[in-house]
């Protein structure tokens, strides 16, 4: 469904992606693993149209992606941005309806009814949001905001959901709840590209994974392959608990050279 082919990108003079290729098939959940500054978020913003690749191509169903972010959303590729980015002063309901913005704007009566149905479905998926439906999203906890951000993205009825570090700053229990939803998405007709630092958690819910360091894809394979490879485990996934060790980071820097921060 989604194919990223030999994509490169640089911020000013600093090259951050080197001929990156990856693909996500229909009904698949794929994770992209790597440490801070590896280029994960940059790659996602290229896919969602916030930036244009310097070279290479990004194809959706074999055709180039629409140029503008709105066109990409309409084509069914929706991002849950890093740091949630919920609308803090809008109510939970308004946030969810904003997710269906293009559908409400372009669709007729039938579409509005469908949006109302989807809204009810989101509240089934994330019951906490139902309890908070009229409150400003700024009142929600971090975990609830992450759920809201996901619900908002799903309101667009995406075929492919791009998730940028949904576990960031959340308690393990909340992370687990969110990962459970992510795991079930492919069965609901929504493929997933999950960017994560929590490698073990991500691999547990994804079919395949890519490992990126210093702007290059170093390894790709099924989750089982990655998990069973001793060297990979040690080099990229860190010690048993899945925390990326600092020693690994230093090794990457000396090898890749030009890896830079992504500015967030």
């Amino acid at each position: 469904m989604l194919e990223v082919r030999d994509v490169s990108f640089s911020y000013g003079g600093a090259k951050v992606l080197f001929d990156v290729s990856l693909s996500v098939g229909a009904g698949e959940a794929v994770c992209l693993l790597g440490m801070n500054g590896a280029g994960k978020t940059t790659l996602l913003s290229l896919i969602s149209g916030l930036a244009r690749p310097a070279s290479g191509a990004i194809l959706l169903d074999g055709r180039p992606l629409p140029a503008r972010p709105a066109g990409i959303v309409a084509a069914g590729v929706v991002q849950v941005p890093e740091g949630r980015r919920v609308f803090t002063q809008l109510s939970v309901r308004e946030n969810l309806e904003m997710g269906a913005y293009l559908r409400l704007k372009n669709g007729g009566r039938a579409e509005r009814a469908a949006v109302a149905d989807d809204l009810a479905r989101m509240l089934d998926l994330f019951p906490v949001l139902g309890e908070r439906i009229g409150q400003p999203a700024g009142n929600l906890s971090g975990g609830e905001q992450q759920m809201l951000a996901m619900g908002r993205a799903l309101m667009a009825r995406p075929r492919l959901l791009l998730l940028d570090e949904p576990s960031l700053g959340l308690a393990p229990k909340v992370t687990a709840a969110i990962f459970r939803v992510v795991r079930d998405l492919p069965a609901m007709g929504c493929s997933v590209l999950l960017v994560e630092q929590n490698a073990l958690g991500a691999l547990a819910i994804c079919n395949r994974g890519y490992i990126i360091t210093s702007g290059q894809i170093r390894f790709s394979g099924t989750s089982a392959d990655i998990l069973s490879d001793e060297l990979l485990r040690e080099a990229f996934l860190g010690p048993v608990n899945g925390e990326a060790g600092t020693a690994d980071g230093m090794r990457d820097d000396t090898r890749g050279g030009s890896a830079t921060q992504e500015g967030n």
Binding site: R68, V86, F87, E94, R112, V115, A116, I133, N139, A149
Partner: protein
């Protein structure tokens, strides 16, 4: 998360097919609008002097600018310190076209508004890519440029002494050249312009603007074309300012550059802020308060810019969301503080509710 006992589910009427956006707020606005219209209609009975009319006329003109500015600042969250320039371009456009070139005042007003729309688009496309302080600086710079042109291009604008002899607006032989007659025109236009503003705010586009205010990346991720929406609302609010400027010019018959300098922009922003950004009624409160007060207090008149600056500072530090949310928050806190022991008042002690719930 939430304790199950306190969970208050306002269920989502599933699949009712009802438009989720057409709800009681529309009725509430209609009521408020009618109340204002009645007040405007009845007020002349209580007014004695022409001077009082003059003050209220200025309130109406300011209200038009503030309504437009509120769309930009209060809803879309883009700050402009350049609206006095658009106000001035409308005024001078109307003045020059009608007095120098003999164009019908109404047509002059429309042509000026179109010109301002184009100018706002040209200014807006590059500047609205800026954020926060940089946007403030850019719009301020724009206002300074316009101000300099108005003063220096004296053969056309009349220079620093101003432009005199602007003909009044008239309809079917009746001209709006007195304080009383202009009162009806100015308030009529102000009331009329509140309606499209309100409709925009409560449309999906208005919600998208508020979303941009909260998080541009988030709005972008929802498929909102943030860059083009920001420019569009900037243009719209500039047109509001231009219309107000034209009214101002045709009313007074004279326009002077001093009325359109950056301090005037600061005034508009302060009016917007003091009433509470993101509330059209707040804009009314701001325009009313900051137009009438300076007329009543001598100190205010003398140290005008100083006081406006001070108000702006205090507002930004202590009540960044305006007077009305602040008052509501205070009321909530007092109720919670005093109400526990007394308990008799009968007010349900839930504090403020809804969107403004945050202190």
């Amino acid at each position: 998360m939430t304790a199950p006992g306190t969970a208050k589910t306002k269920g989502v009427a599933p699949a009712s097919g009802r438009h989720p956006l057409l709800t009681p707020p529309a009725r509430r606005f209609a009521r408020g609008w009618l109340a204002l219209a009645v007040a405007v209609a009845l007020l002349p009975l209580a007014l004695r002097s022409g001077y009082q009319f003059t003050v209220l006329n200025v309130v109406a003109v300011n209200l038009i600018v503030v309504t437009g500015l509120n769309l930009l600042m209060g809803y879309a969250g883009q700050i402009s310190y350049g609206h006095a320039a658009f106000f001035g371009m409308g005024a001078y456009g109307s003045a020059i076209l009608s007095a120098t070139h003999g164009v019908d005042p109404w047509l002059a007003m429309g042509v000026s508004a179109c010109g301002v729309a184009v100018a706002a688009a040209v200014v807006g496309v590059p500047t609205l890519r800026l954020k926060g302080n940089y946007l403030v600086m850019a719009t301020l710079g724009f206002n300074l440029i316009v101000d300099v042109i108005l003063v220096q291009w004296s053969e056309v604008t009349g220079g620093s002494s101003g432009f005199v002899g602007v003909p009044p607006l008239s309809v079917a032989g009746m001209s709006f050249d007195t304080d009383r007659s202009f009162y009806w025109l100015a308030w009529g236009v102000a009331l009329l312009l509140l309606i499209p503003a309100r409709n925009l705010v409560h449309s999906p586009v208005g919600r998208a603007l508020r979303a941009i205010h909260d998080s541009e990346p988030g709005a972008e991720a929802c498929g909102v074309p943030t860059a083009s929406y920001k420019v569009q609302v900037f243009v719209l609010s500039a047109v509001f300012a231009s219309l107000a400027g034209s009214l101002h010019a045709h009313y007074l018959g004279i326009v002077a550059p001093k009325t359109f300098d950056i301090f005037k922009s600061v005034e508009f922003v302060t009016m917007c802020l003091i009433g509470g950004m993101g509330s059209l009624w707040g804009g009314l409160a701001g325009a009313l308060l900051l137009t009438v007060l300076p007329q009543m207090l001598g100190v205010f008149e003398e140290h005008h810019d100083l006081i406006f600056g001070a108000i702006l500072l205090v507002m930004l530090i202590f009540m960044p969301r305006g007077v009305s949310p602040w008052l509501r928050g205070m009321a909530g806190r007092m109720r919670r503080g005093a109400g526990v022991g007394l308990g008799g008042g009968g007010a349900p002690g839930n504090g403020p509710e809804g969107r403004e719930a945050r202190p």
